[in-house]
C-alpha cells in the first residue's frame, strides 16, 4: 500500500513556527493558490491536520507547509524530521478565484501569512496591483516577509507590540487603504478568526468585496463528515468542499469561533500530556546516553 510522503527539508522559522517541504509530485502539480492538504504524523493514532499549501515546486515535486505548534498534534508533527514520512492528502478545497480585479489588498495575521503568500503571488501574476498587510503579535512571529516583500507593490507591516513596523492592528492600515480613492477592488484576509471578523467589519461600510479563508475543525476534508460546517448568509456550508474561501461579510463569525472551541478542554489536556511525554522522552534519551557513557569504559 502506498500513500505516505517523505519530508525532504525542515526549518524552524521561529520558536513556534515550522516549515517543512514534503515530496508529493501529484499534489505539487495539481495544486492552485488557496488549496490545502490534510496531514497525519502517523497512520494509527494521528489527528487529521489541515494545513494550507504555502508553496509548491512542480519540478522537484514538493509542497511546502508552514505551521504553528498550537496543540498536541502540531507539536508531534514538528518532531518529524527529513527522511521520515507523513500521511498527506490533497490538494483539497476550491482554488482561489484569481482574475485581474485591479487593486488587491492581502491581509495576513500570524501563521495566516503562510497561506496568504500563494494567493498574493497568484493575484500579482494575474496583473493585479497588490498591497500586503503583514501583522503579528511580535516581530518573531512575522513569517514569509522576504517572499511577500518580493511580490508586493506595497508592503505594510504591523505588530501588536511595535517590535517591527507600525505598532497597530491590521485593521488600522486596512481602513486607511479603504479610504483611498479609488478604494481597493478586493480584500483577502487570512489569520485568526477574530482578526478576519474585524477585517470584514472594517471593509463592510466601504462595500469592498472581501474574501476570508476559513480554518474550521475538519476530519476527512472530502465532504463526508460535516464537521467543518459554517453558516454563510444563513445557509450551512462545508468549508472543505464549498470553501475554504467565503465572502467575509456573510460568515457567521461568532458561530464559527464557538465551534472552533468544541474540544478546547480536551485539547488542553492533550497538549499538557504531550509536553509531559516529550519531556519524559528527552529525560529517557538523556538517561540512555548517561547509561551508555557509564557502560562505555567497562568494555
Amino acid at each position: 500500500m502506498h500513500g505516505t510522503h517523505r519530508i525532504v527539508s525542515k526549518r524552524q522559522l521561529s520558536e513556534e513556527v515550522f516549515r517543512i517541504e514534503v515530496e508529493a509530485p501529484l499534489v505539487a502539480r495539481e495544486r492552485k493558490a488557496g488549496q490545502f492538504v490534510i496531514v497525519m504524523y502517523d497512520e494509527e493514532f494521528s489527528e487529521r491536520i489541515p494545513l494550507t499549501i504555502a508553496d509548491a515546486d512542480p519540478v522537484r515535486g514538493t509542497v511546502t507547509l508552514i505551521f504553528q505548534t498550537v496543540g498536541a498534534s502540531t507539536h508531534r508533527l514538528a518532531l518529524k524530521n527529513p527522511g521520515q514520512s507523513i500521511v498527506l492528502l490533497g490538494p483539497l478545497g476550491n482554488p482561489t478565484h484569481i482574475e485581474r480585479f485591479g487593486w488587491a489588498v492581502c491581509v495576513g495575521g500570524g501563521i495566516g501569512l503562510a497561506p496568504l503568500y500563494p494567493i498574493a503571488k497568484a493575484l500579482k501574476a494575474a496583473g493585479n496591483s497588490v498591497t500586503v498587510i503583514s501583522g503579528a503579535r511580535t516581530k518573531d512571529l512575522l513569517i514569509m516577509q522576504d517572499e511577500l516583500g518580493a511580490i508586493a507593490d506595497e508592503h505594510i507591516v504591523v505588530t501588536d507590540d511595535g517590535s517591527s513596523g507600525r505598532k497597530a492592528l491590521v485593521t488600522e492600515p486596512l481602513k486607511e487603504l479603504c479610504r483611498r480613492t479609488p478604494p481597493p477592488d478586493l480584500v483577502v484576509t487570512i489569520g485568526p478568526p477574530i482578526m478576519m471578523k474585524f477585517c470584514a467589519e472594517t471593509t463592510r461600510p466601504f462595500r469592498i468585496k472581501t474574501l476570508a479563508s476559513l480554518n474550521t475543525i475538519m476530519i476527512d476534508g472530502t465532504g463526508m463528515c460535516g464537521g467543518c460546517r459554517v453558516s454563510i448568509g444563513g445557509e450551512t456550508k462545508f468549508v472543505c468542499v464549498d470553501g475554504p474561501e467565503f465572502d467575509a461579510h456573510l460568515v457567521d463569525w461568532d458561530g464559527m469561533m464557538m465551534r472552533l472551541g468544541t474540544y478546547r478542554e480536551v485539547e488542553k489536556e492533550a497538549h499538557e500530556r504531550c509536553h509531559l511525554e516529550m519531556q519524559l522522552e528527552k529525560l529517557g534519551a538523556q538517561g540512555k546516553d548517561a547509561l551508555a557513557s557509564e557502560k562505555e569504559p567497562a568494555k
Binding site: F45, E47, G223
Partner: protein, 492 residues
C-alpha cells in the same frame, strides 16, 4: 464467556449426537429450535469495544445447519442479492465440511465474514426461507447469516484462506476509485482476469464505511484488513491518501495515465441535517463525524489517539437506521450516562437490522418513538443544553404503505441533552461529479448508470452507494461485481 453460554454449547453437542442416532426427517428438522448467538454480557460489553456477537461453536453450526430442508426451489437464494448457493453451502456444513462450505460461498461472495455479520438477513435471504415461513416467524428461519459467518471465521482462524487464482497478465490497466465494498469487489473480479488493478482511496485505510462507519464492536477491523490483504496478495495495488478529482482528475486517469477503464465506488457523502434552528451549536454532530472520530481515528483510545471526542453525558441520537444504532451504542461505550434514540415512527418501521435494535435495548439505550426535535437549545457558551421535542401519532398509510406520522399540536417539550448526533442519512458526495462535468448525475447527485453499471462516459463505470444512495454492503458488492463483468468483457 458466561456459564449460560457454555451450557448452550454443551447442549448443542448433546442435541447433535441425539439427532444423529436416528434418521433426520423434515419434521425432526423443523423441531430443532434456531440456535441462539452467543454474545458478550450486555452489562459488560457496554463498556468495551470488543465484538458483541461471539459466533457459533462447530456443534451449534452443525445443529443449525440441520434445520435446513434443502428446498429444491431454494427461495432463500432469490432473497440474497448475490445469489449465494445457500442450500449448497449449508449442505456442506451438515456434513461437517466447513471449508467446502466457504468455497461455495466464495464463488459469489468474496467477503462472507463481513456479510455474515452485517447483512440485514431478516429482509434478505432469511425473509424468504421456507422454515421461517412454515413456523410463522422470520426470526425462526434458518440462520443463514450466522452460518455464513461461522464458516468464514473457521477458514480464517484455520489459516485456510486461499488467494484466488489470477490469470496471466493482459497488460490492461483498470483504476478503481474508493476502497469500500463496491470497489474492493470490483477490484478482485477484474484482477482475476489478469488485468492490472490500482485502487485509489482518499483515506489512509481501505474498507470505506466498513472501517470508518461500522464500529469495531460489530465488525472487527481486522476482518476488513484481512480482506484487503487478500487483494494485495492477488497483486492489486493500493494508492491510499489519493483523492480522485483533486489529487488527479478522473479523466486524466483514462487519457493520460493509461488506464483502460475506471470504476467509481466513492460511496455516500455529505451528511443530511434536520435543518432546524440550533443545528450548528457545539455538541451537534453528524453520525459520520462522530463515528469516524471514534472508529477510524480511534478516539476511544483516550491518551493514545490524537483525535478528541466530545465528552457527553446525555446524548440524543436522531434517526432509526443502522447508523443511528451504531452512534447510540458507540456513545454509550464512550462513557455517556444516558443515550436516547428519537425516531419519528415506531419500532416496526425502523430500518435498522433487528439484531442491532435488540442489542441496543439490552445495553440500555432508550427509544423515544414518535418523537422528533424541532429546535436545539444552547447555553450561553453556544453548547447544546436541550432539545425541543414534538410528539407524533400514526395517521393514514402513505404511498409506501407505511402509516404516516402526524405531529400532535402543542405537544412540544424541552428535554435536557448535552450532545445531539444526527443520523438521518446522506446526500451524495459531490466531489467527482463537480470536478467531472461530463458525468451525468440525477437530481440527488447519484451517478446515473445503465444495467451494466456504465456511466455516461465511455469506459467509466460506477456502483455502490454513489449510485444507489445509502444501500447495504452486499448491494454495493453486487454492483461492483456487475461492473467488473462489464469491464472484463469490454477489455477482452
Amino acid at each position: 464467556m458466561s456459564h449460560k453460554e457454555e451450557c448452550v454449547m454443551d447442549n448443542a453437542e448433546m442435541e447433535l449426537a441425539r439427532l444423529h442416532s436416528a434418521p433426520i426427517t423434515p419434521k425432526v428438522r423443523m423441531q430443532i429450535p434456531p440456535q441462539a448467538m452467543p454474545a458478550q454480557d450486555p452489562l459488560e460489553r457496554r463498556h468495551n469495544m470488543e465484538e458483541v456477537a461471539l459466533g457459533y461453536s462447530p456443534a451449534q453450526a452443525m445443529l443449525e445447519a440441520q434445520r435446513c430442508l434443502q428446498c429444491k426451489n431454494a427461495p432463500c437464494v432469490t432473497g440474497c442479492p448475490v445469489r449465494i448457493d445457500i442450500p449448497g453451502f449449508i449442505g456442506k456444513i451438515q456434513e461437517g465440511d466447513f471449508l467446502g462450505a466457504v468455497k461455495i460461498i466464495k464463488r459469489t461472495n468474496l467477503l462472507p465474514s463481513i456479510c455474515g455479520r452485517v447483512c440485514p438477513q431478516e429482509t434478505q435471504c432469511q425473509a424468504t426461507c421456507t422454515v421461517g415461513k412454515a413456523l410463522h416467524g422470520v426470526e425462526k428461519a434458518v440462520q443463514i447469516g450466522r452460518l455464513e459467518r461461522f464458516v468464514a471465521d473457521y477458514e480464517r482462524t484455520h489459516a485456510a484462506v486461499e488467494v484466488p487464482n489470477v490469470a496471466s497478465s493482459t497488460g490492461k490497466k483498470v483504476a478503481i476509485v474508493g476502497a469500500g465494498p463496491a470497489g474492493l469487489t470490483c477490484a478482485a473480479d477484474v484482477r482475476r482476469e489478469g488485468h492490472d488493478v490500482t485502487i485509489f482511496e482518499a483515506f489512509h485505510k481501505s474498507g470505506g464505511v466498513m472501517v470508518y462507519g461500522i464500529p469495531e464492536f460489530r465488525l472487527p477491523k481486522i476482518l476488513v484488513q484481512a480482506e484487503a490483504e487478500v487483494l494485495e496478495s492477488m497483486g492489486v495495488d493500493f494508492e491510499l491518501n489519493f483523492l480522485v478529482g483533486r489529487t488527479r482528475p478522473l479523466l486524466s486517469l483514462l487519457h493520460e495515465d493509461g488506464y483502460d477503464a475506471v470504476f467509481i465506488g466513492t460511496g455516500a457523502g455529505l451528511p443530511k441535517f434536520m435543518n432546524i434552528p440550533g443545528e450548528n451549536l457545539v455538541g451537534v454532530f453528524s453520525a459520520n463525524e462522530y463515528l469516524t472520530r471514534a472508529n477510524l481515528l480511534k478516539a476511544y483510545m483516550r491518551g493514545r489517539a490524537g483525535t478528541p471526542i466530545y465528552p457527553s453525558r446525555r446524548v440524543a441520537v436522531l434517526g432509526g437506521g443502522n447508523v443511528a444504532m451504531d452512534s447510540a451504542r458507540m456513545a454509550l461505550r464512550l462513557g455517556a450516562e444516558e443515550v436516547r434514540v428519537l425516531y419519528r415512527r415506531t419500532r416496526e418501521e425502523m430500518p435498522a437490522r433487528a439484531e442491532e435494535v435488540e442489542h441496543a435495548i439490552e445495553e440500555g439505550i432508550v427509544f423515544d418513538f414518535l418523537k422528533s426535535p424541532t429546535r436545539v437549545l444552547g447555553d450561553d457558551k453556544g453548547r447544546v443544553a436541550a432539545l425541543e421535542v414534538l410528539s407524533y401519532e400514526l395517521g393514514e398509510p402513505d404511498e409506501s404503505g407505511r402509516r404516516r406520522p402526524v405531529p400532535i399540536r402543542g405537544s412540544e417539550e424541552v428535554v435536557p441533552f448535552d450532545t445531539v448526533i444526527v443520523a438521518i442519512g446522506n446526500e451524495s458526495n459531490p466531489l467527482i461529479s463537480r470536478t467531472t462535468p461530463q458525468l451525468q448525475i440525477d437530481r440527488h447527485g447519484h451517478i446515473i448508470v445503465d444495467e451494466r453499471q456504465k456511466t455516461s462516459i465511455d469506459r467509466v463505470y460506477a456502483g455502490g452507494d454513489i449510485v444507489l444512495g445509502s444501500a447495504t454492503v452486499i448491494l454495493a458488492m453486487g454492483e461492483g461485481r456487475r461492473a467488473a463483468q462489464a469491464i472484463n468483457e469490454m477489455l477482452q
